[in-house]
């Protein structure tokens, strides 16, 4: 146990003295979050939109909708939708100039809706209200029910919140990169011979690497980067303790996965390339580069990626405070640790014998 701690402490020294790698990890994560959150800002923020908006309308003379006008106004206002009346209006001009999100022109027997691309969801809400108004008028106008807020608008994370969480997970998935230089140095100068000749076995050597990698991921990626992301971006954890627990478990699983590549291949470049490639695909299917909500990849592929479970759990915890994916996520990560750590030990021992 003492020898494992000696090797761990030594590896931590080496990792934390490699400042360029640490700075690159911190800046890389923050930069990617800022870039992708900005790129997908409009998509996710429109879907998420929850605050009220403004509807302008003009009731033309003789419109069959005139009797329902007081109910229409009251109903919309009750739902935190501001209603503004216009006369002889040019809908497109009004939307451009008057900060109106949607305009409704009630004609004699029909109505015309105008909105812009930015207010697509608002327009759909108003359209749904008008459809219901039409239905109500076929029965009794006075019983009109405005279901605007009961529309099935899925509650999803904003772009910064979503990408803030999933990019931390993605960068954590490649946390074994912290060990690349150590493996390279030890192989290049045959330092590993000293470990083998000493009383330190291959298990101690492996665990020294694994523990130092996990501790670094916890300190740098959960401690430092997550704190910075929470401060700099609009990111919420929902249930902080549970989310941090999931992240810590993810660091343990991904470290075990990455070290296998470093242990198998003598060539550091090959190790990094193969590890990065597999984790990139796991991230791609898991929602690291496009949201899992609007993913263009089949459900089966997504569910093959452990990253998907981690991302989904963290995002749902953030938005809803709970997630049905929490248990499967914890199960998959635990399974990864339980299987991959012994595999890593075995490969290290076999390489030693070779």
């Amino acid at each position: 146990m003492n020898r494992i701690w000696i090797i761990t402490k030594n590896n931590l020294k080496l990792i934390f003295r490699n400042r360029s790698m640490l700075i690159l990890t911190v800046l890389g994560t923050l930069l990617v979050i800022a870039c992708v959150a900005n790129a997908f800002h409009s998509l996710l923020d429109n879907a998420e939109r929850d605050e009220g908006f403004t509807v302008g309308y003009e009731m033309q003379e003789g419109s069959k909708y005139a009797p329902a006008e007081p109910f229409w106004i009251e109903g919309m206002r009750n739902e935190n939708i501001t209603v503004v009346t216009f006369k002889d209006a040019d809908p497109e001009k009004i939307i451009k100039e008057n900060d109106i999100d949607v305009f409704v022109l009630f004609g004699k027997d029909s109505y015309q809706l105008t909105g812009n691309k930015k207010s697509e969801l608002d327009t759909r809400i108003v359209q749904y209200v008008l459809y219901n108004m039409d239905m109500s008028m076929n029965g009794a106008v006075g019983k009109m029910n405005l279901p605007a807020r009961s529309l099935p608008t899925e509650k999803i994370a904003g772009a910064e919140n979503y990408y803030g969480l999933v990019e931390i997970v993605y960068f954590m998935s490649i946390c074994s990169i912290f060990l690349v230089l150590i493996y390279r140095t030890e192989r290049k100068s045959n330092i590993w011979l000293r470990f083998r000749i000493s009383s330190c076995g291959s298990t101690g050597w492996y665990l020294g690497k694994y523990i130092s990698c996990v501790l670094t991921a916890w300190v740098i990626q959960i401690g430092l980067i997550l704190a910075m992301v929470l401060l700099l971006f609009d990111v919420h954890l929902g249930r902080p303790l549970v989310s941090i627990g999931v992240l810590m478990l993810a660091a343990m699983a991904y470290a075990a996965y990455g070290i296998i590549f470093l242990a198998i291949f003598e060539n550091s470049a090959a190790s990094i390339a193969l590890m990065f490639m597999t984790l990139w695909f796991a991230g791609l299917f898991g929602g690291s580069f496009e949201t899992y909500m609007y993913s263009s990849y089949p459900e089966t592929l997504r569910k093959l990626s452990p990253t998907y479970y981690v991302n989904r759990t963290l995002v749902e915890l953030s938005v809803n405070g709970s997630s049905d994916y929490l248990l499967p996520c914890v199960g998959i990560l635990t399974l990864m640790i339980v299987v991959l750590v012994p595999v890593g030990m075995l490969i290290t021992a076999k390489k030693e014998e070779a």
């Binding site: 003492n2 020898r3 000696i6 090797i7 030594n10 020294k13 080496l14 003295r17 490699n18 140095t185 290049k188 100068s189 045959n190 330092i191 011979l193 000293r194 470990f195 083998r196 000749i197 000493s198 009383s199 330190c200 014998e353």
Partner: protein
């Protein structure tokens, strides 16, 4: 009579049915500086790797300090210090941190560890540079630190694998002097080098290996007498080596 520190008996190591070490038997006594010579690919490194338990022999036995390496490896390991040909030190660690790491792997801690670090660095005259990063050292300083890292746990048997490659004459002389000093302090030494004058200067006995076999073994004079035609002929160890192993180039591919 001196105790036997290393005893190899019918040692064989095969790769793909090809014997790299082919049934060697050898005894090294306590207090010797034993030179192991041979052209590239002769089997020296494989033999040393088996003595250090880095490789398992295909057949034969190895006894160190009277203990079977297979059965009592954990007792044997703290008695061996290995100085590899490569600079097996971390450039990103300070000199004392390098010695601390490799000494503490043998379970040495506390004051004993601190004293061991001080002694080892003093022995190689790097005590003034203890807080400097090894990566900033010159080639000769790195070589000395490489040696210090193997001394901290006070081994009884030191194995040097070409420790003077690529350094200036001053550093080389210093290292050879330190090897003789540690030998005087009671450490048995196994030394390999391609520099014959070094072996001639420090070794008490020499074995010459070729094609996985020991083709000659004895004191320097005994070896010289093997090839000396005229009793008054001045002969160097290099001449002995070339006479026994031939002048043909040895191209050797690892693996």
């Amino acid at each position: 009579m001196s105790k036997t520190v290393v005893k190899l008996d019918g040692l064989i190591k095969k790769y793909d049915n090809k014997a790299v070490v082919d049934g060697i038997s050898l005894e090294i006594k306590e207090g010797e500086i034993f030179g192991l010579l041979g052209p590239n690919g002769a089997g020296k490194s494989t033999t040393m790797n088996m003595i250090c338990s880095l490789l398992k022999p295909t057949a034969g036995s190895i006894e160190l300090f009277g203990m079977d390496i297979k059965k009592e490896n954990n007792k044997i390991k703290p008695l061996i210090g290995y100085i590899p040909q490569d600079l097996a030190i971390y450039g990103k660690l300070k000199a004392w941190e390098n010695v601390e790491l490799f000494t503490s792997l043998y379970g040495i801690k506390g004051k004993a560890l601190k004293d061991a670090i001080d002694e080892s660095l003093k022995f190689v005259e790097l005590e003034d540079k203890r807080n400097a990063f090894a990566g900033t050292f010159s080639g000769g300083m790195k070589r000395r630190l490489n040696i210090a890292c193997a001394l901290g746990h006070k081994p009884k048997l030191l194995i040097f694998d070409e420790p003077t490659v690529g350094i200036d004459p001053q550093s080389r002389n210093f290292i050879l002097d330190r090897i003789k000093t540690s030998n005087k302090n009671g450490t048995t030494v196994i030394y390999t080098s391609h520099y014959m004058e070094e072996v001639e200067a420090i070794c008490s006995r020499v074995a010459i290996m070729d094609n996985g076999k020991i083709i000659a073994c004895g004191t320097k004079d005994e070896l010289k007498n093997m090839v000396r035609k005229d009793p008054n002929e001045e002969i160097s160890l290099e001449q002995v080596f070339l006479t026994l192993t031939g002048k043909k180039l040895r191209d050797y591919v690892e693996g």
